[in-house]
Every structure is written in structure tokens, then in C-alpha cells.
Symmetry: D2
Subunit: 467 residues, 4 copies
Amino acid sequence: MWGDPNAVALTHLGLHTLQHRGQEGAGIVGFDGHTLRRHRGFGLVSQVFADPADLTALTGSAALGHVRYATAGGKVLENVQPLLFRFSDGPVALAHNGNLTNAVSLRAELEANGAIFQSTSDTECLMHLIRRSHAGDFTAQLKAALNQVHGGFAFALLTPSGLYAAVDPHGFRPLVIGTLASGGVVVASETAALTAVGATLTHELAPGELAVITDAGIAVSAYTTQTELAICSMEYIYFARPDSVIHGVNIHQARVRMGERLAAEQPAAGDIVVGVPNSSLSAAMGYARASGIPYEMGLVKSQYVARTFIQPTQDLRERSVRLKLSAISSVVARKRVILVDDSLVRGTTAIQLVRLLKDAGAAAVHLRIASPPLRFPCFYGIDIQTTAELMAANHTVADMKELLGVASLAFLSTAGLEQAVGLTTTAPHGGLCVAYFTGEYPTPLDDYEVAYRAELATLHPDVNVHA
Amino acid sequence: MWGDPNAVALTHLGLHTLQHRGQEGAGIVGFDGHTLRRHRGFGLVSQVFADPADLTALTGSAALGHVRYATAGGKVLENVQPLLFRFSDGPVALAHNGNLTNAVSLRAELEANGAIFQSTSDTECLMHLIRRSHAGDFTAQLKAALNQVHGGFAFALLTPSGLYAAVDPHGFRPLVIGTLASGGVVVASETAALTAVGATLTHELAPGELAVITDAGIAVSAYTTQTELAICSMEYIYFARPDSVIHGVNIHQARVRMGERLAAEQPAAGDIVVGVPNSSLSAAMGYARASGIPYEMGLVKSQYVARTFIQPTQDLRERSVRLKLSAISSVVARKRVILVDDSLVRGTTAIQLVRLLKDAGAAAVHLRIASPPLRFPCFYGIDIQTTAELMAANHTVADMKELLGVASLAFLSTAGLEQAVGLTTTAPHGGLCVAYFTGEYPTPLDDYEVAYRAELATLHPDVNVHA
Amino acid sequence: MWGDPNAVALTHLGLHTLQHRGQEGAGIVGFDGHTLRRHRGFGLVSQVFADPADLTALTGSAALGHVRYATAGGKVLENVQPLLFRFSDGPVALAHNGNLTNAVSLRAELEANGAIFQSTSDTECLMHLIRRSHAGDFTAQLKAALNQVHGGFAFALLTPSGLYAAVDPHGFRPLVIGTLASGGVVVASETAALTAVGATLTHELAPGELAVITDAGIAVSAYTTQTELAICSMEYIYFARPDSVIHGVNIHQARVRMGERLAAEQPAAGDIVVGVPNSSLSAAMGYARASGIPYEMGLVKSQYVARTFIQPTQDLRERSVRLKLSAISSVVARKRVILVDDSLVRGTTAIQLVRLLKDAGAAAVHLRIASPPLRFPCFYGIDIQTTAELMAANHTVADMKELLGVASLAFLSTAGLEQAVGLTTTAPHGGLCVAYFTGEYPTPLDDYEVAYRAELATLHPDVNVHA
Amino acid sequence: MWGDPNAVALTHLGLHTLQHRGQEGAGIVGFDGHTLRRHRGFGLVSQVFADPADLTALTGSAALGHVRYATAGGKVLENVQPLLFRFSDGPVALAHNGNLTNAVSLRAELEANGAIFQSTSDTECLMHLIRRSHAGDFTAQLKAALNQVHGGFAFALLTPSGLYAAVDPHGFRPLVIGTLASGGVVVASETAALTAVGATLTHELAPGELAVITDAGIAVSAYTTQTELAICSMEYIYFARPDSVIHGVNIHQARVRMGERLAAEQPAAGDIVVGVPNSSLSAAMGYARASGIPYEMGLVKSQYVARTFIQPTQDLRERSVRLKLSAISSVVARKRVILVDDSLVRGTTAIQLVRLLKDAGAAAVHLRIASPPLRFPCFYGIDIQTTAELMAANHTVADMKELLGVASLAFLSTAGLEQAVGLTTTAPHGGLCVAYFTGEYPTPLDDYEVAYRAELATLHPDVNVHA
């Protein structure tokens, strides 16, 4: 946020709104007119800012906030963002969403030239590249640096002079700009945060764009022309909030259409449609509408986080897991339940849910997944970096049906997913990255390539990695 | 819980399941074969037992847990239950759900005879009455004491010899007994807790019953014959979990029927039906079904608790409140929304929601409340003790419609509520206490009577208090 | 403290001054003009009041503070004083220094009559006795209660009407009254606390006296005439601060005289006199003066509390213990050291010190103890309740010399102690209780008598317990 | 510490022993055979390692610990040492005692070449210099770097290969090496830490020396030949522990000699000699011996740290300060007290002490300071960086006498100090740095020179700064 007297308080609200994007840590840097001050910590925003004094200490007219969702870098405080650098020519704060594919080789090269890293996060590379650039001003140095990092990223930087925001050349990760009645400018990952702070959407960053926001206004320019939209399809499937809009498409409605499309592609002989709360309710509603089978509240999610501990017996361990969700017996008893889930990752939750429904008396469970089978890792910022954890990467659909104990199991097709999202673009796959489903990566894999090819040769000998 | 080696761990799970019944504090007393040990504190179960060591220190074969929902007594640790008394003839733990109407006069009388109270909670009276009883054994002393306390209550006591559970002569507050495969016995406020620990419902305490659970088994007897069922209707309307069953009626389904009945009694010219998440989704579903108007997900509830602080501006204060709920603009824009809420207490949340929907583009909002107008205080354990806070006690429906800014406003009738719940009983009002809607109290008001009559004379000069 | 606008802040200072009298817990009750408020906790005053808000919440014109030194009652918060009772006729706070000999039998009798205790501390008995007294006013009820409790005690009670302070009929525990320039009145265990708050000593409570301090002034009266001074000699030996004055005798100077007397009674062939810091420096100085042997700083005490943990090896365990004290090698090397300690309890510290001095090169260590051998338990408030822990109760002087590894070992005589203190009184033993040295108890032992006689029969078959 | 299985536990003991050298923060880095792990925090060692788990997590055969005494760098966790750097070729930990005079210019130059600093501490410069050195191995790079930093320093570095320790070319700050029975090697600021861990002193680092400790043994070499001993005289005056030995001189005995010398130079007509506990007791003892005037315990220091808060009145503020020290009235009353203090910095404590003694009845106070007047700042690691705070830099002795309210005031001479310490050396000022007394600095002042000359021109127009 830039140019609003309540920048820190509004950023705090915005972080709460985007809490679903990362729960491992949080931080806010505020600009008080003189310098940048930071508070950060592990845990949820409400835990990190449990003491109001930590927030009020940051008051200022500009702020940069971050919630941490770990894909790379260990769990040490140094890695919790925004990173904050104090130079003799002024401080710079840096926040990052995404994953760089060439971070390891960049770091090795920088270190060989005397660079000292303070975090193990890939994010820090950008700052070293900026400081070692001989380009003219900060914007020019930043553009030079952005052209050296590869992968999926949305970067935001705050200095006493301005706020800088950039997305990678494929736009893997979303970034929107809004304006406030006060004249202030907000940059955020999702429109829900704009709504939360009362801002109006004015621009969505296109692949390869850099926005420079200063007291002189918003200047958007391209730092590269080699671009092609491939936004992460998981944003639409489960990651983003239902009330957000990305590239003109409301998330809830995209999910309803995924459910409708799934019903058309994969009908099931059920009595009721039940969604997994809360992320799959939209898709379940779509399935129910398209199939004409009644939508029912067969599962209830607890509104409280139950903190449970290492339990002495297997029975207690299972009961602890179930505290989060419970079945309404009088709804599901003696019914053939069509259970709709947004995605199938490891399968552990699905196994629990199927057992829960059967214990509550369900006659049969037909599992319908409103996305294609996840078979390949993501290198652009979703925490699926090893296929060993993916149920669909290691089993056939028939096998999974047995493992899950369901009467039938079916997935949405990749084409169906692309149509359900329905972006207006000529880019491949309707502008979506569907690499986790197909193995077709929009970019070279850089530092990950060797290990990935080795893993692939074992798991999917039939697939060719993107060259 | 009595007679299971994991009694403490299971009680901990049970408290998580019943967290919705009280968030002010929590505590567990465990019986380790020799003595009773306790851990208690302010806040949620997950906060009170944040340190696993506090739980493991309590290991034993019997346990008593409590979550605090304050209706009487100040916010001091002494009042957080279970209360624990150490006598030279052994310890006794005591937990209470409800509110006593004659606590003040009982306490005054006891003190005049030298009693020293350690809490300001009305619960403690019971223990003094037990200790001063000259009846034969502990069960007899307890029965004598139960006949001296008035109001709505469910008591549970734990001693090294047994677990004791009793409900008041009108059964205002629910209490169920379940058995485990291990032979252990569980007593809980709701069946959801039985499900959570894997117990099967074996008995629901009838008004005026006392259950004595020892190693010899479960013995249920009546401590009075002057009984008549008048269970709190708020349990069905919003207090209990949707997956619980009270007196044979599933809560979710009762709420669906309240919605259906409301649609029949109070139709509305709307395009979509939207429920207030999460408590009113059942009623909204019922309203949609009965009216044939589509049920839509127009409001989204955040799954994270946002901790916000005293905000410097009115705008920030309002934005903070809205973090909890947000509207999906693409769903509600240009639609006439029928907003279904389970009840209308102060009206402050409803005002926010209506504004939220209108800001998101709703053409109109028709508010439908799936319960009758709340006009009178509760003296039996629901925290509505002064009518000054009740919107419907101070305004006509027409006035409220204006204050809320809705196109129309309507409530479910008391008769409709009674039929929707549908208990099998010949007791008045279908076995429900509907005093908050009608002013007809099933018992004398004892210590509250004078103040209540005075308040009533001002607010509702037309109503006669129960004599 | 009564009648000063800064009563709470001054009480806080006073508790810091008296921190040496108890480190297990602390608490303050403040009277804000309406009611009594309390904050208490485990640990040092600085830990219990680590958050300034806890102190400022207590602001008022009267206050009662306490530091806990546990002799009876378990380590539960309920036992941390002041105890606070809320009655319908107003609150009462209660603090106690000492130990009651008939607490167990009093409690049993009270419970049999329906009393419910909230702590396991013997202190609470007094309040039950007060509340059950049928005497006229509070002062009369308190006097009646004081006549029912036996042992060594100094009680202070605070009500909205006044501050009450009383000592037992033998004056085992000290209590002084001072007045402030503001007109406020302070009661404290030692004069050092009066000095700390700027008060002037106006009265020292005589055995069997009760002081009632109200806005009308200070009224001192006797609640019994059966009195005889027998103040705890350990107060002079090591318990009280060197800058305090008890019954007209300065503690530091009494200790110097104990050292002088010890030098006369038990000379030693040494080169330097070294005291154990800090409690034995006065006695060592006295020994050096009387003997003419140079006083040297051979041992240094760390000014920081080293928190060490369970150590993996015996060597590390010993090193951890030594962090507290260290020897100055260049001072003690090749010297015959006369080590002066104030008392010898278990002997564990003495063993460490002797080894420390020898490791630093001392040629020999002559240990001189500035008090008689501790052979009997104390039942009046010093935490020596079992003789099994006392080195001198289980070994001869010759044996102890071997165990401690010293060249010689000698103690001050009881007569020498009495003369060194030098109270102006005709009471036996110069007005001191010397029971731990001689086994002659000034009072019946009540509830302790049977167990004590049994222990004694084994350890000291030659001694007759006081009949 | 290098090469002992209990390296971390012993380092922890050592830090406790050296706690007096820094109380702002503490940290330990342990080498577990694979990598370096760190725990650090603000406060005392006992606070930073309050949780034993934080210590046991560091177990290993080598360790580096540090207590922070802030002279430069803000109070942010990043500045708490040891600093820990993780390079692709392995980790390095770095700890520093002292102050660099050219840190600002070094940092500016490094930043201009792309360096990113993670702390604001001057210590970090050394690591950047090492990493940018093109010398052969780590030892060669370290030597190159040591030749680029100026000022007073003792550095210790830990890598998986070895422990490195170096002192500056004037030996401003002490560093000793000891060996354990286990074969382990310890490096510490003071010999007291060697004693605490059971090590024997084997070498004291001479100016300009670097010790490299590996599994192959201890290799000491000079990294420069331009050396001249000028050890900080404040180490002897008050900083080091009385039981430590620096360059062959025991601290306690050096202080006794300062007191003796002071008595000879500055006699006083007093009845008793009283030292300020605890740091000035040695000097007071020396003064008493040389003058023949009795040494008395007139002041008592509390063994507990009193945590006091912002007090509402001036009277309460003064009383809070006095909690730390109190006078024994019966010792000082009607006596002419010769009060001996080790040094006079701001004078605030001295003013309090004089008032305390007079309030306790002292007839007169003669203040004797066992070191010369502090008139100039220190740039080598003692936290006296501005003369504005130094009483003697701003007032004549006559003025100070009035301000302090003493009967007479006198200081030890610089020559007296040098003789009292008595180092065996031909270096100027007997091998001591006496710059704070004389303004003669052993090195150029580098980055401090301009500001210092400006300050000096105002305060001491008569003095020439070292050219």
C-alpha cells in the first residue's frame, strides 16, 4: 500500500483477508516517513500481531505485508518476509509469492563473487542482483534483476520512494492493483483484499509487467516482451477465495462451472450431492444443479481449530483428525452419497471422509473430483514439489477407487477445467498452467531439471519433459 | 467420563466438539486413581491446553471437562470450571451448565451460617448445600441439594467413587449418556460429543433425573417427581451443533424445517435465497426448498479468526467487522436477495450484512428470521438477561425494517417453531421453553422477579409475568 | 499499609525489600476505596509483577502484600497469599508469616461442620474461625480466633475498614509498625521495609498483641495475657537483613558479635579469615577483629543468578553449583583459611566450599559456624521440619569434620548466641527460641507431637520433648 | 570451545561466568558434527536459555558463545552475536568484543561494491572482508581481513574445521586460551571462565596474535608485527571479575593496591572506610589497610533484582533507586565515612549513595575514587562514547565536590593507577590504555576523528588529540 495515512492498519486487514494464501508466518513493514520498520513472526496474522503494540509501532503512509506459504527455504525467522535490507543509501523491503527455478545456480554464482546471504529463501537473490546491477536508477536495476530470475513470481518492493510490483513472464501468480478514495494505491494477490480495504480494481498485472507506484502516480511498463499467459490453475481450483476475481473470472462461479461440467462428464447414481466444506461447496452446488440430484449438508466443518496432540492409540489419532469434520447421520444414513471434492492430493483426507460417511450410515459413496488427477510436481509456487506424495502419480484410477473404498471415482478432464474457467485468451490451455496434470511445463525447469527427469523416468516412463 | 483408560484424552476431544457451547474458559479434572488433578484457564480449549504437558499431567480413568459460557459470575479464574474441592474425606469436582434463579438468596443464607465461598459463580452453592446436608451418603446429600436449587441446570460431579449427572425438573438444558466399547461411560451436553469419542447413546436424562455412574454401572433415578419438559428452544434454533440429536430430533433437520415453515408463513419476492454462514445455512436451505427459489452462496465466512484492534477511524472499524463475512459480488449483484438468519438479537450483525450485500450490488434484501422475535430475557442459561439489548423488545417490526434497511422483514411464528422442532410430548409448547418470545416462564423467577417486573412494566406494560 | 495515596506502590517497594523472606510466590491486595483487588503469582516479586499493568490495576490508599516462604501447604496458586475472601458484607484479605501447630485438627473440626477450604494452607483456618465466631464486631471475632490458633504466627488482615496485625503469644515472628510523613501507617516483618518506604518505627508488636489501624489511628491491645518472648533466633543468625533492627538489636552488629564470641570460644590456627558471601560476612568480620587474623575476600559471589539445567555428567553438575561462588586463588593459595559460615544445615554447600578453596590452593580449611549445631526441627515457621535433613542431628562433630574434609570444625555455644544477640528481657534463653539447638520447645507441639516423639526416639533417645 | 563432547554445556557455564561483561543479549552456536546451530536472544544468559530445550538443541563438540555489551549497533536481534553465516561451502559463526574505529568507512566501501549487510553491528564487516579476500585458505583470508579492521577487538570465529581467535595490535581487549583434561581447548575473555569449566591457562593472546585451534592442535601466529600493548585499564578498575587474572595480574589484588595507593595519595580524616558493594570492596579494603582506618560494612547490596516501574512521584522514584543499596544505620550513624568507589562516571549513583549515608546518620562523607577522573570517550569497546555524560569532563573537582555534597573528593593519579596494576612491560603507561583519563589515544581515531575533535574543541580546548 502506498499513499494512505492508515497504510499499516489497512495492510493488516488485507493480510487477514489473504490469510488462506499462507499460514506459516506473517510480517508487515511500515514506512514512517523516515525509515522502514518491520514486525514479523511465525504463525497466523492474528498470532504474529497478537500484541497491538507491534502493529501501532509501524504506523505510516506506506506498508508492505506478507503471509508465508513455504515452498522453499527452511523454517527460520530469517526467511519470514518481507525481507528488510538497510543500505547506507536507504532501506528496501521485499516480499515474494512464487518459486524461482534458477535460485540455486544464481546463489552459487553470487556467493562466488563475495555475496553473503542472510536467509535461505530464494527471494533474497533478487536483492543481490539489484545491488550488483550497474543500471541507472532503482527501477532500471530492478528490471535488470527481474530478467535474471526464472520461474513463477510476484514480487513487491517498498522503499521510501515508492512501491514496486512485478509478475513473471507467464503470469503464474496473480497480482492486482486498486485505488482508494484517499488516493492511496493497493497491490494485492487477490481482489478480495482490495474489497476488504475499500479499494477499486484499476489494473491486473499482465505477464512481464512492472508497476512503479510513487507520489507521482502509477506507472506500468513491461520489463520483457517474451510473455505468454499461463496462470496457475490451482488458483481457480482451490487456492483463491471464492469472492475473488482473477483475470475477470469470479472464483466461486468458476468452481460452480467445474462442478456442472464434472456432472456432465462423470454422472453418478446417487441420492444426494455432498461437498467437502468449505472449499468444495461451490463445485458440489454446480454438480447438484447440473445433475438435478439434491444438494445436501451431509458434512459439517468445525468453526474452531482443535489443537490435538500426539495420541497414545490409533483410535485416538483417528478421532483427533475427525474433530475438523463430522457427518450428519440423519442426512446421509441409507443414502448413496455423491461426494464432491475440489482436488485429490495425497488422498489421506478423502479416506477419512469416506469412512466418516460410511460410519454415519451412507449406503455408498461416489467420489467426484472437480479437477484432473494431480500427477506432476509444481515448480512455480504451489507446494507440490515431489510426485511421491501425489496419489494419482502413483496409482491408476481403479487402484485409487479401491484404496479410497468408494463405489466409483472420477475426475474432471483438463479440457473441461479450461472451459469451466473460461479465460479470454489465445494462449495454450486457455491461459492456464496445467503442468501438474499433464507434465507440460511452460518454462525450462533450470535447477530442478536433472532431479525431475530422474524421478519421471521411474514414475512416468511414457512422458516427455518439456524441452 | 468414567471407566476408560483414555478418559482425559477423550474428554479433551469432547470439549473440542462442544467448544461452540462456551468460549470464555475451559478446564479438565482427571482422576489418576488416587486424587483429582485440574488444569483450567481462560479462552478456547486449544488455548487453555496449548501446552501438551498440561493435558498429560491429568492422565486417568475418569475425567470431568467444562467449557465456560458466562451468564453469571465475574471473569476471574476462580469461576472457571470444573470447580475443585479438597476435603479431608476426599476431593469433589463440579461442573455446571445453566443458571440458578435462587443463587443469591441461597448464598446469603449460607454465608450467614459461616460458609466461605471461593468463587462468585452460582454453581458453588450446590457444594455447600451438599456438605451441610445431614442425609446418609453422598448420593442422598446430592439429591437433597438438587431439591434446594431452582432454575435451569445440568450438573456433573466427579469423585474418586463415581460420576454424578443431573438435570433440572424442566430439563431446560440437555444431557445425554453414552457407552464406549471399552465399557466406559460418557455424559455430555450433546450427542456430537458422544460421536466424537466413539460412544453410543444409551440414555437422555429426563427432567428431574440423576444418573450415578460407578464401577458397578449406571443407575438413573428421579430426585423429584414435580417435572415437566420445557427444553430451551434456542438449543434447536442456534445453540446446538447441526449434527447433534436432542430428544430424538436432529438439529440440522429441525432447522431445515424451520426454514421450510418460514417460507410457507412468510414468502418473499426474491431471486435467490442466501443464508448467514454457518449457523443459518440449514434454515436457508429449507426456505429455498419450500419456496422453489434458488439457494445461493452469496456470503462467505472467513475460516480464520481475524484479531483486530481498536481502530483509529470509523471506516477502519467497519472494515474490521467485515473481515469475518464477505459477499460474492457476482452472485448477488442485481439480485433481490432473501437473506435468512436463525435469530435476531441486537440487530448489529444484520445491519452489517444488509450493508455488505447492498455494497456488493444486491437490488434488494428481504430479511427472514427462522425464529420468533426475541422480546424477553432468559433466566435459565442463555446469555440474554436484559431486554434492553434485544432489538425486538424495543421496536416494532415496522421500525426494525427501517433500522435494518431491508425491503421486508418477517419472523417465524411460535407455533411454527414448535411444529418444526416436533418433539413427541404432551408438555405445553411442544415441550419447549419459549419464554424469550412470549414472556411465559415455566418456573417462578425467584431472585430475579422484582427487577424483572420493574423492567417489564416499562417495556411491555401489556404482559403479565408468570405468577 | 493504611492511609497513603501510594499504598500499593510503597507495598511493592516493601516486598522487594523483604524478598529474602520468601521467594516461592508473592501477591498484593489493594483497596481502591470500593473493593479489594489482588494480583499474585509464583516466583520473585519482580517476576510476579513483571507486567506494570498488574501493579497499576491495584492503585489505592491501603494495601496488603506478602512474599511466600513455604513451610506447609502445596505449591498451588490457591496457597499464594494474601488470601482474599469476598463476603456479602465485604471482602477480607489475609496474610500470614509463621506456622500453626494445631492447623490439622482445627481444619478437621471445621470441615466436620460444613466448612469448605479453598487452599491447603494452614492460614485459611483463621478466616473460618472468624466467620464462625459469634463475638460482637470484627475485632472481637478476630481476637476470639487468635486465641484458638497455636504456634508461631504474625497475621495481617485488610478490610475496607482497617488493617489488623497480630503476633503469637511468644512473639516467634517479628512485626513492626511505622508511620509515614503522609500520616500513613505501615506494618512489616522487618524495619528495613520501613526504611525503604520512608517510615519511622513507632511500635514493635509484643507477644500476644493485636494492632488495629483505621482512619481513627493505631490501637494496640493484648488479645491474651499468657505471653512470654521467645523470638526465633534464626532471624538474628541468617534470616533477617543486616540493616534491620529487631527488638532494638541491629542484625549486622549481632552477627559481628556472634563472630567475635565464636573467635573467643573457638580459636583457630589460620592465616586469613574468609566469610561465606553474603550472609556470613558480618560474622567473619567479627571473627577477624576478635582474633586479630586478617579478614580477606577469598570467595566471590556472582551477582547474577545462573540458571543451569540437569547436566549429563557429575563433573558438569559440580561446575554448575560452583557458578554461584568462586574462590580468588591468589588470595587463598598456600593459606590456612578460617572459613566462617552463619549456620550448618545439610552441609552440602559447606562441602562444595571446602573443595573450592582447596582447588584454589588453600593449605587447610578451618570451618567455624557462628551458631550452635542444628539438631531439632522448627514448628514455628522456619523450613526445617524434619531432622533427617540436618547434618548435626545425624552426626557427631568429629564425623562432620571428616565428612566436610576440614582441618577443624567448631560451633558457637547456645549461651554465646544468647549473649551475642543481647536482648533486654528476663525471658528464658535471653528471649530467644533456641529449640532447634536444644529441643526445648516454648509451646506444646499439638498435631506434630506424636510424629516428633517417634522420630526423636530414634535420633536422640537422650532428649525429653517439652511436656 | 573446541574438541570436548560437552562443548555446549561448558560454553553455557562460561557465559554465566562472563555475564558481567554484557547483559543486553546472549547467544551460543554449537557444532553438531554436520552444521552450526544457534540460539540467541535479548537479556541475560538465564533469560535467553530459560528453556532447557534451547540449549540441548545445540549439543556438539565445539561451540561459540557471546554476551552482548552494546557500544555500537541498534537493539535488534540481528545484532545479537554470534553472527551466523551459511555459505554453500559451509557455515561460519563470528563473535566480537570491542569496537572498530573504521567500521563506517569499511561498510560504505563494501556496500558500494554490492555487499548486503544483515546487521547494523560493526562486527559484520570482518566477514565481508574475509569473503572478498583472494588469499589462499580461510586462515590467510582471515589474516588479510584482520589487517583491514582498526580499533580495539577480540574476534572469535567457529567453522566446522576449527576455532579462530585474534586480538587487535594493541591488545585493548583480553583473550586467554586454556586446555581441558579431555584435550578440549577453551578461548575466553577472562580466566574466570577457564576456572569455571575446569581448564588450565596455557596462553594469553599477545597484541596482533591469531590462534587457530583445530583437531591438529593450537597454532598461534602473528598477523602483524606493528604491535604495542595498551590494554584497557577499565578491565582492572571495574570491568573484569575479581577472581580473574589478566596478563599475570589478579584483578582483586590490583584493586586492593589501587585502594592502598589512593590512601597514600589522598588521605582523609574519617572514622570508617566503606566500599560501594560489590565492585569497590577490594579498593576499600586496600584503603583501610593502608590508612589503618577500620573497614566497615556500611552499605548492603540487595541480592535480588528489584524490577520497579515508572513511579508517579519523585519520592517514589528515589526510593526505587535505593532498593538496590541500603545503609546500615547503626554502623554509619555519627561517623565520618570515607566512601570508596572504583570510578566516577555520571555521578548519579554517587549522589544517591551520599544521600543514603547522610539519611542513615553519617556525620560526613569523604569520597575517594580508586581511578583517575574520566574525561575522554573510549573508542575501543567501553561504553563511554560521549564526554557529555562524564561528570569529570564537564566539571572541576571543586564543582563536583559541591554537586555530590561531600566533605572532600579525591581521585587516584594516572601514575598511581599504572603502578597499582604493575604489568611487566616497557610499553607506554605501563602497558595500559589510559586514554579516557588523558586523551592520549594509542591509535588514530579514523571515522570518529572529526566529530571528536569538534567536541573536544568545546570541552577541553587545552588538549591535543592524538595525531
